[in-house]
Amino acid sequence: MKRKLVLIGNGMAGVRCIEEILKLDREAFEITIFGSEPHPNYNRILLSKVLQGDTSIDEITLNSWEWYERNGIRLFAGETVTEVDSERRLVRTDRGRVVEYDELIFATGSNPFILPVPGADLPGVTAFRDIQDCERMIEYAKTYKKAAVIGGGLLGLEAARGLLNLGMDVDVIHIFDYLMERQLDPTASKLLQRELEKQGMNFLLRKETAELFGNGRVEGVRFKDGTSIAADLVVMAVGIRPNVELARKSGIEVNRGIVVNDYLETSVPHIYAVGECAEHRGVVYGLVAPLYEQGKVLAQAICGRKGKPYEGSVVSTQLKVSGVDVFSAGEFMDVEGTESIKLYDEARSVYKKVVVREGKIVGAVLFGDTSEGRKLFDMIQRGDSLEALSLSLLTPASSGGKGSLVAAMADTDVVCGCNGVTKGAICQAIAEHGLKTVAEVRDYTNASRSCGGCKGLVAELLEHMLGEEANRYTVKETICGCTDLSREEVLEAIEQRRLMTVKEVMSVLGWKNEEGCSKCRPALNYYLGMLYPGEYDEEAESLFVNERLHANIQADGTYSVVPRIYGGVTTAEQLRNIADVAEKYNVPMIKITGGQRIDLLGVKKEDLPRIWADLGMPSGYAYAKALRTVKTCVGKQFCRFGTQDSTGLGIRMEQTFERLKTPHKVKMAVSACPRNCAESGIKDVGIVGVEGGWEIYVGGNGGTHLRAADLLCTVKTEDEVIEMTGAFLQYYRESAHYLERTSKWVERVGLEHIREVLFDVETRRALLERLHKALSATKDPWRDIVENERLQQMLFRDIGDKEPVPVE
């Protein structure tokens, strides 16, 4: 049964979080979204562009109606959730609809702040927050001439620019001495004011609004100093407030925003908050980049794959205000204890300032030329010392030439701040997919999808990539030469399009060799089996011979047979039985293996089913990418040093995890004391008994790439060993490349990351659930074949001897 996920708020942060969830697990949730606005998710940042006439409402849509439909999402647009019953886990709407949830996300965003002054409710007064406000202003501009914008912040200036474009006279009223005081220092602010005045805006600074007056509709604004102006349209752009009423009323802890922890969980279980409505460590974010970061973390948590927590964001502002580029980050004001380096080119209207505290770069403001903004932002985040700052960074851009700017950027430098897309990621996408336009780059990487401020840089990168750098970004690690897709891309496509067979995957994803090769066919077979346990039937013709015949092929074309002997503990009767079978089939060699098993070597292919039937033992899987053996030492039953029952635990582990298919073979061992007679230190999972508990080691390897295992954790009980091992195996199954041993995988993804995943109770529970689903779908293959005449005929019997006949 799918869990029910309800999202309240159909805006940028919430819907991006849903996109992240779909990326992680398409099948996990039945998703319902409520949005008060009658539109699909659109790019609110670009509303000013709509107002300014540069773009249409259709063009700022981020997710079309069709997108919701394609992803099976129920969208109720124009419907507002009015009540949340967290006891019974359901929500009610203003239309009387009742929807149940298992998980609930608040992404209710912000409301514009309307000054509580007389006349604020008069017709002709509007906020600037949504499409409706935008449409209203466009409508007013057709009839009226005089507009007043209250608020000299970014939003107010954007509105003012739009109203100018619509042919209105615009007064901008601001309570402070200078504009955009939260993003700019006084010098930059004055430069901006001068520029905007040239464009036709009129500023009324240090003016506090007392009331809006008018007869039937707004006619003017009166200030506390007694002066007043006439206005037919008043736009309130004095700020926004997190929209938290519903949350407060539902008993969720609310401060300024809805209070969330590092995994975006609110004070009420199964309820989360993301975006502008959320307050994290005392901070409410309003810029899009942090909101997207939050969405990613929440998606992982809600899918049971908790990864890195959200630890807050350092923000920078890079904007184009009315055609003027401005940037600021960190502590950019000159205060006690700071010094600054400034470049002020009044003629060209360029101003750059870097603020230094105790020799370290802590902030910057750029005006007119912001091309070095990203670089400075990285330096601020790293806390670089002043020496790292090359003065050329502050000289006019023309001196270096623009081309060299993108060339000089490091691969880790962020190009699109909203979506956190680096230069490396963009170049990689350009090289791999042969991208030619900014739009293509946007579709592949999300770069420039939000505020669009980085379009210029992306365009330069495109140009640049056609040149000398193209070769640096070579093709990623694909599954094999038959495809250009990586493992991750293939898995995502399999899940999204619900591809069910190897053939289907290859044909839908455009494999270059129609029938694949000896690398991709077994790999796809594994991935499909992992994704669809119980549903997917292995394809014999896509398996390597050993796994097809459940025996190991030998140099001479014969096979070996290794029956399961749990924990390496056998009995006289079992040994007698094996000896009898070996004699009956004239087995040329009987060998004790490194994993404490008995190997019957030199068996003919057609004898395999008969030998299995006579043995009457389960397959030991000595041929498979699966759990091979759990090697054990004697343990405390006999050993005078043993502190734990290693054979008992080893047998239990082998019985629990046998038949589980993994990306590569998995060897385990259990030792009863740190003398480690079972060699747990070089196993994929090695257990070492200590006084009062067990140590769990992972990622060891005794083969070509000798590697000592890492201590994952120490636990007290056998049950905990089974649980932790199970979660480890499942995470390995889900995230390793086919044929990647745990030793390589642990190094690639990092032990710390694996710990974070496994130690999270909820994630571990989800992993174990999927593991048990996979385990319950397995059965002993030898027995299966012994009982299946058709399989024996198809796989084990050849045509035999034939006589030639002469022909005329």
Partner: protein, 101 residues
């Protein structure tokens, strides 16, 4: 010329090889995904591997011992490996498969 009836087409599952012995000669028979039947000497030019047990893709088989890729049409090992296996003409008539020696 000698001709050997090696069985019916139904005895050859698609993309799963079968081995047939004719005197001292051992052949690997393959019915490809496109329903063509090929016969080659069942001995990889590398270390004599049992080609009949290899993974079949299009008109190629991958040797199960060391993954050499052998073309079923002309018997050539594919680069970077070098070598060749003997190929034999096959005729399918009325559902019966014949190999010409």
């Amino acid at each position: 010329m000698m001709r050997v009836e090696v069985g019916t087409i139904e005895q050859l599952p698609k993309r799963l090889g079968k081995c047939v012995r004719i005197g001292a000669l051992e052949l690997a028979l393959f019915r490809t995904g496109e329903d063509r039947v090929y016969a080659v000497e069942n001995r990889c030019p590398h270390k004599g591997g049992d080609l009949s047990q290899g993974i079949v893709s299009g008109e190629y088989v991958f040797c199960p011992l060391h993954d050499w890729k052998i073309c079923l049409r002309d018997g050539q090992a594919q680069a970077p490996d070098e070598g060749c296996v003997k190929t034999y003409r096959v005729a399918v008539e009325d559902g019966c498969v014949y190999v010409e020696l």
